[in-house]
């Protein structure tokens, strides 16, 4: 999905272990500042990686490359389905979504056009991460 963007400057870093894939096209300051704070959050214990997407840019940061596609598909589906559910049930604007699996959980927050998905271990404290993102 990332690779299909036109006029996108794409970089892929494969240093030691972590995989950072980014496709950036006309980053806005908001996107940049969110990415900076997500990079910091990424270092916290229990955080497995993150995906940040806007209409024109995307950053994916995971330690293992084998789950990138699965995680990207899941986060995209969460966003799409939850927006639909939020609308159907008149929940008001979607503030955050937390999806917990057996081993891991995903925190999804939309800030303007920027869609944030933080993947973390099941026992990682997500409320602190929400605060840090919204700060």
């Amino acid at each position: 999905m990332l690779k299909s963007k036109t006029n996108a400057k794409e970089t892929e870093t494969l240093s030691a272990n972590p995989v950072v894939v980014s496709a950036v096209d006309g980053e806005t300051p908001t996107f940049e500042s969110i990415n900076t704070s997500l990079s910091e959050i990424r270092k916290l214990k229990g955080v497995l990686g993150y995906i940040l997407r806007s209409d024109t840019s995307a950053v994916i940061d995971f330690p293992q490359s084998d789950k990138i596609i699965e995680n990207a598909a899941l986060s995209s589906q969460i966003n799409e389905s939850c927006l639909e559910i939020t609308k159907q049930f008149n929940l008001g604007g979607m503030e955050s979504v937390l999806v917990e699996g057996e081993d891991a959980k995903v925190l999804c927050i939309n800030i303007g056009e920027n869609r944030i998905n933080v993947f973390m271990e099941k026992n990682a404290p997500h409320s602190g991460i929400i605060k840090r993102i919204l700060m």
Partner: protein
């Protein structure tokens, strides 16, 4: 899904609004879209759309080893979907709802009841239903094997604690104020109860015949006696129970006093 399965779930989720009035909609569904229980406020078409949207997430949740819970915080309301052994509990509440109460109901109470119900064979007295679960051998084959076994030696009584007793929810208790009835045509051992309450009992217990009620005074005197619905429609919904003189004497009580009434369910 049997009535014995869905009725207790229906009863529980109907009480959610009484426990936390901020809860606006609750329902339980299976992955195939079958709705097992829902509150009155639930809109079926809306619920079906939710199930479809939710299933799309479940189908892509392999990277987190399946989906256990989903929580959406909206500006005005919040929704949680909790997985319970291939069934899902959806709960919508306003943001003002007490988080602990909602979590206790959706994360502890209902999943525990579902777990208990799963341990009970669907049709009581027929162990074969439990033996022939989908995914095992075909039912026909199992039935033949079982027949052979019963002809020869006795089958191990694996589900003995459940086989003779159908699952029945605990009888609901109601508090009524005593009103006296008399007259030549009034049977001396029959009390009269709100028709809506009787209808509710029949809803809960399906086809089960309820012929007597257990009546207890606040002082602890109790009796079992027959009952009929209150004749005068305007006396329904007032929280009264009509006693003939003999019943009042047996309970050593009088007009205006309170009694606790529950249906007698033969197990």
């Amino acid at each position: 899904m049997t009535e014995a399965y869905s009725t207790p779930l229906q009863t529980i989720i109907s009480e959610f609004k009484n426990i936390s009035p901020e809860i606006t909609n609750t329902f339980i569904f299976k992955k195939n879209g079958e709705i097992l229980a829902a509150t009155q406020s639930a809109d079926e078409a809306q619920n079906k759309k939710l199930i479809a949207a939710f299933n799309e997430i479940v189908d892509r949740s392999a990277s987190i080893s399946g989906l256990e819970t989903l929580t959406i915080q909206g500006a005005d309301s919040q929704m949680s979907i909790t997985s319970m052994n291939n069934r899902y509990l959806v709960n919508v509440s306003s943001r003002a709802a007490d988080e602990k109460t909602v979590k206790m109901l959706t994360g502890v109470l209902v999943p525990t009841v579902v777990k208990l119900l799963d341990q009970i064979p669907e049709s009581s007295g027929n162990e074969l239903t439990r033996v022939g679960k989908p995914g095992n051998e075909p039912t026909k084959e199992v039935s033949q094997q079982a027949t052979k076994t019963t002809q020869g030696e006795s089958m191990p009584d694996m589900f003995a604690p459940f086989s003779s007793e159908p699952f029945l929810p605990e009888p609901p208790m109601h508090q009524f104020m005593i009103e006296k009835i008399g007259g030549l045509l009034v049977p001396c051992d029959i009390v009269r109860i709100d028709g809506e309450v009787i209808a509710k009992w029949h809803d809960i217990y399906g086809g089960k015949k309820i012929t007597r009620v257990h009546i207890e005074t606040l002082e602890g005197k109790a009796i079992l006696c027959g009952f009929k619905p209150i004749k005068e429609a305007n006396n329904n919904g007032k929280g009264i129970i009509q006693f003939p003189e003999k019943v009042m004497q047996a309970l050593q009580t009088s007009k205006g006093k309170l009694v606790i009434v529950k249906p007698e369910i033969t197990r």
